[in-house]
């Protein structure tokens, strides 16, 4: 689970080169949100 979040953070870091603390935190939260969204999507597909 953390891997996806780290991956998202790394991609953001590659985009920005330098990130402030707030940006890092936002990217981590975004990563978690994406993860939740993807899991929900997967569940949805299996239900159908």
């Amino acid at each position: 689970m953390h891997w996806r979040v780290i991956q998202h953070l790394a991609e953001s870091l590659l985009k920005h080169d330098t990130m402030t603390g707030e940006q890092v935190e936002a990217a981590i939260r975004e990563g978690y949100m994406l993860l939740t969204f993807k899991s929900a999507l997967k569940l949805d597909k299996t239900d159908q």
Binding site: H2, W3, A10, L14, D17, M19, G21, V24, E25, I28
Partner: protein
């Protein structure tokens, strides 16, 4: 069993990686590992960058809350760290043996070492911020060992060590 050896010298990249893009990616993953670990342990991240500075290819600046108390015990409880470490392993298996993940794991484990090892290592590690790290990862990603050298002193950590650490 074929082993992949990864060596990082204070955030410098693996020389075997050829393209610039791959190097940058490795640095970004490594720094992301640091930043994530800091965030996870409620250390305030101030800055994360992949812009080279001095001998570092990138760095993460954070307010480290791991301060030793009067009995030289780190303030961060080891069981919290053990929980985080155990959470990490399923993720490791999910990476489909992606070598780029190693720098991130090294980053996380370097932070882990500051808390699980005896106080003198913690101090040395945090204050000097100069270390050599090498990780040996088996092909199946089931065994990880990490060696950290800090100005003459060296020690190894492995997942089992972290998980068995008692507060």
């Amino acid at each position: 069993m074929k082993k992949i050896k990864i060596q990082l010298v204070h955030l410098e990249t693996d020389q075997r990686q050829n393209s610039m893009g791959q190097k940058l990616q490795a640095i970004a993953y490594h720094e992301a590992g640091h930043a994530f670990a800091d965030w996870h342990f409620h250390f305030k991240v101030k800055k994360a960058t992949i812009v080279p500075k001095d001998d570092a290819a990138g760095y993460v600046e954070s307010k480290t809350a791991c301060i030793l108390d009067r009995s030289n015990t780190p303030t961060l409880p080891a069981h919290a760290l053990a929980a985080c470490t155990s959470e990490l392993f399923p993720c490791w298996r999910d990476t489909q043996h992606n070598v780029a993940f190693a720098p991130a794991v090294c980053g996380l484990f370097m932070l882990a070492a500051t808390v699980t090892k005896p106080p003198n290592y913690c101090l040395g590690f945090i204050q000097r911020r100069k270390y050599h790290t090498s990780g040996v990862i088996s092909k199946r990603m089931q065994k990880i060992s990490l060696r950290i050298r800090c100005t003459g002193e060296s020690f190894s950590i492995s997942p089992n060590h972290c998980l068995n650490t008692t507060p």
